[in-house]
Symmetry: C2
Subunit: 207 residues, 2 copies
């Protein structure tokens, strides 16, 4: 009976979704505490008191679990900066400055709280490029929206706002990429405020 | 007899220096062919038909050998861009553009020819930070010289040429860092020419 099937489906899906969430949360804790390389699917299953076969019903590999963990982190970062992009009462320069500062602080904090995060990110970079690519494109899209608003308001003047936004995004990788931020704490790099001022200088109209 | 000692010393030193060079060249080939992680000091000694103890007379660890290998590569890159910084008949913008293009092309080529290079660089980043720091500072010094020349010539206008140079250098890390360049071949990043134009825009005088 279709009516019966329709009624029970949401409950089945909620159960599966809860199990998925528990697997992802447990994997994230294990990647944080013992590192991505040393964590096995068997460890995750054991912590959850389930069989590895049950974990594999939801994720076909450790790589797939990592994609879910990294996907969760990247969505948090995307939400953080989307909020700033939409906050009322700010100029485009203020928005851009706050977005870059937030990306940098968020990365610094995560690297401090989670010193082995770069292992997980390196695994995603080499095995799950699509997750990284999607994240880069979403962040770039948010920056592009702010740059385009600044151009419309006469605050910025660039021939191609999308390209300028992509340049700004590429230029801050040293401050926002977990692999660089976590591995080079004492690197001789200009303060983020100096970098923001330099980049805003490249966006502002001549004269 | 001091005269005797003085006469033989250069020959002894030349011998030691040749052995050091052979160890470094063999290590570099092994890092290239089988990777930094899988290479052992015993492998290097075996290829050179010497005992591991003899290798340890020259380098006290694999880390020390890696510092010599990475030091050699970084000096090549520094020489490449110092040449451009001193080439006659170029404006500061042309020099800077050629330096950034050279850093990017050199990195791309090395990553193509040496796909495991990032292992060696990651090891240097985590174990031999001084080698990396020195390299970053030398590249930044060359860029700073070109920016300062541009300011003197009225081509650029920035309040602090050293800081602007450090910003330019930090902004191109996405294009010149082996760990990022080798691991993300399909990354959505603007063409280097667009990035150079954007950065030059940040250096040029307003109006």
């Amino acid at each position: 009976m279709p009516a019966e099937a329709d009624r029970t489906l949401p409950f089945v899906e909620e159960g599966a979704s809860t199990t998925r969430c528990r697997i992802v949360a447990t994997a994230e804790r294990s990647f944080r505490e013992i590192g991505y390389q040393k964590t096995t699917v068997a460890d995750i299953a054991k912590t959850l008191k389930m069989s590895p076969a049950n974990v594999y019903r939801f994720f076909d590999s450790k790589k797939a679990i990592n994609e879910a963990v990294v996907g969760g982190l990247t969505r948090e970062v995307e939400a953080l900066i989307s909020g700033i992009a939409q906050a009322p009462g700010l100029s485009a320069a203020e928005r851009l400055s706050q977005i870059i500062t937030a990306l940098h602080s968020d990365c610094l904090e995560r690297c401090r709280a989670f010193p082995r995060m770069h292992e997980m990110i390196e695994a995603a970079m080499s095995e799950s490029w699509e997750v990284c690519r999607t994240h880069v494109e979403r962040i770039r899209a948010v920056i592009a929206r702010v740059v385009a608003e600044g151009v419309r308001a006469g605050e910025f003047s660039v021939p191609d706002p999308d390209l300028a936004a992509a340049c700004v995004h590429a230029a801050i990788v040293r401050y926002c990429h977990p692999v660089l931020v976590s591995q080079t704490p004492e690197a001789p790099v200009p303060p983020i405020e100096a970098m923001i001022a330099f980049l805003l200088g490249g966006l502002r109209p001549a004269g």
